[in-house]
């Protein structure tokens, strides 16, 4: 059985909200991303993994332990960043982190210190008066300071400025090197592309697709944009037996869909034309999923 196992998981809130028959398996060391618009059911799934919600049917396990029945047990493995940050009553960030450390039985705060440094956080600030970004950083430190094996993050970069997002992604990459398993929801495609092995798309509570980031990045089906110098060539080219995509008549540019192995043939054809530019149009995760949402 996989490290994280989600089996026919359903949480029905009525009116089509919740999760419906979700099946996912995540291996140890895998970084799994979870995308979807607001209200698609991302947080509901994460709350079921954390044992906060009882599934209507189906089950989820982490390290062979049922997430609902053994929710306290599995927390020994998990570091969690909730989607909404609301800290308990504590005067300062430092005091809050110290109390959290006590609850997880952590005495060595050196890793917490390192994280604080990397995120440029001043934890001595008043917890209630912290900015959204500072709160988010504090939450990140609280989730990771005890060096848990599994990181469950619900939109971890909300509130962070672009520089801090980069810092956070760097921290995640370090964790990935250490072999951590990460399950994160996000709507930032670029950060998921940067860290995830696989990304699932959830829509109306159902998983509509699971994609390997590698496959998307190294898709065997390529799209090229070819731009011609003359209208004559542009028109003539369209008679070739190729698969054409979008056409930009004003720019004398068109898109070609072609498999990697056929690119040589394309080059042979292009020899007969006056080509101004030839650019591979990189498919991102975002565009790949956008197609599915439509």
């Amino acid at each position: 059985m996989s490290y994280i196992n989600i089996n026919n998981l359903t949480k029905d809130y009525g009116k089509g909200r919740g999760n419906f028959d979700v099946n996912l398996t995540i291996e140890k060391g895998e970084v799994f991303g979870f995308a979807g618009i607001n209200g698609a059911g991302k947080t509901t799934l994460i709350r079921q993994l954390m044992g906060f919600l009882k599934p209507s049917s189906g089950y989820a396990t982490i390290n062979h332990l049922n997430c609902w029945e053994h929710s306290a047990e599995i927390k020994k493995l998990i570091g969690y960043i909730p989607g909404e940050i609301a800290f308990p009553d504590a005067p300062t960030g430092t005091e809050f982190l110290r109390r959290q450390a006590e609850l997880v039985g952590l005495t060595d705060m050196s890793y917490a210190e390192a994280l604080i440094k990397k995120l440029q956080l001043d934890p001595t600030a008043n917890l209630k008066r912290m900015s959204k970004g500072m709160k988010q950083k504090t939450a990140i430190v609280a989730a990771m300071m005890h060096d848990p094996n599994i990181l469950i993050f619900d939109e971890p970069t909300t509130g962070l400025d672009p520089l801090m997002r980069v810092a956070f992604i760097d921290i995640m990459k370090d964790e990935i090197k250490k072999g951590k398993t990460i399950f994160m929801s996000s709507h930032m495609w670029d950060e998921m592309e940067a860290v995830c092995n696989r990304v699932a798309l959830i829509k109306d509570g159902k998983i509509v697709a699971v994609q390997s980031v590698k496959e998307v990045k190294h898709n065997k089906n390529k799209v090229y944009h070819i731009c011609f110098r003359s209208e004559v060539d542009y028109e003539r080219f369209q008679a070739e037996s190729l698969v054409f995509g979008e056409k930009f008549n004003d720019e004398l540019k068109l898109a070609i869909h072609i498999k990697d192995k056929d690119v040589r043939d394309l080059f042979k054809i292009m020899k007969n034309y006056d080509v101004k530019s030839f650019v591979e149009f990189k498919l991102s995760l975002e565009e790949n999923f956008k197609k599915m949402y439509d």
Partner: protein, 261 residues
């Protein structure tokens, strides 16, 4: 079973409120004790000579007057407010705000959390009454040393008031544990105890006596306690049983319910 760490944190988060709601009733009680003069009561009885009130007045003792004033009104309402606020803040408010996520993302069982919070509430109420009873005993000795006040009866009154608060805490804590939203927890957890209080006051009025059956406060029968009435013990036991049942039931529901964290 219980979490020492959570208990400590709860104590730190709540000590100000607890201090305020211990000191104020204490001052009120000491002040009443200091200014109370049995002679005033007798004078009033003389004035009312010939009316049925007079015999009632003459039978009054220090505890009869102060007891029903403090434990029936000012002290009762103050402690009730304290219990209501604290019960809500211990569970429902933390779930509503989402801060409970930080307790539950650690390897702490829900049952441990809820037991610890219940223990805190009960301990806090008990501590308040221990302080009140101690300060009260001292005040009685200082100001009413020659009035022949029975300290034993005073302590029984305190114990009874504690059991009443315990039952009311059970009501507030139950709703705090059951509801995920503060507004719902407060509607019932504060609404019900306040309704008890209002019914208790109304039941003193002629024609409304039957309202007595609708409020828990009836079970803390101050005159009966001072008279050594036969019903006192089962009434007080009933308060204890109601409190225990509600604390346990709230905990059982909290452990099984969905938490939006």
């Amino acid at each position: 079973m219980f979490s020492g760490a959570i208990f400590k944190q709860t104590m730190k988060a709540n000590w100000k409120l607890r201090a305020i709601f211990t000191v104020i009733p204490m001052i009120i009680f000491v002040a009443i004790t200091a200014v109370f003069d049995m002679e005033t009561i007798y004078t009033m009885a003389d004035v009312l000579e010939g009316t049925p009130m007079a015999s009632m007045m003459k039978e009054q003792s220090f505890l009869g007057v102060v007891g029903s004033m403090f434990f029936g009104m000012q002290g009762l309402i103050l402690l009730m407010i304290y219990v209501i606020i604290t019960a809500n803040s211990l569970v429902a408010s933390q779930v509503d705000r989402g801060s409970m996520a930080y307790l539950l993302s650690t390897p702490t069982k829900r049952s441990t959390i809820i037991r610890t919070q219940a223990l805190y509430l009960i301990t806090a109420i008990l501590a308040t009454f221990v302080i009140l009873a101690t300060a009260g005993t001292v005040a009685i000795n200082v100001f009413q040393g020659d009035a022949g006040v029975s300290i034993a009866e005073f302590l029984i009154l305190n114990s009874g008031a504690f059991l009443l608060m315990f039952a009311i805490a059970g009501v507030s804590f139950f709703f705090s544990a059951v509801f995920n939203l503060s507004k719902h927890s407060i509607t019932f957890g504060a609404g019900l105890p306040l309704a008890f209080f209002i019914l208790d006051i109304m039941a003193d009025m002629e024609g409304f006596e039957s309202l007595r059956h609708g409020t828990l406060i009836t079970l803390f029968d101050i005159p009966a306690i001072l008279d050594g009435g036969n019903n006192v013990w089962w009434q007080l036991s009933l308060l204890a049983i109601i409190g225990c049942t509600l604390f346990v039931a709230g905990g059982k529901i909290f452990v099984k319910k969905d938490l939006p964290l």
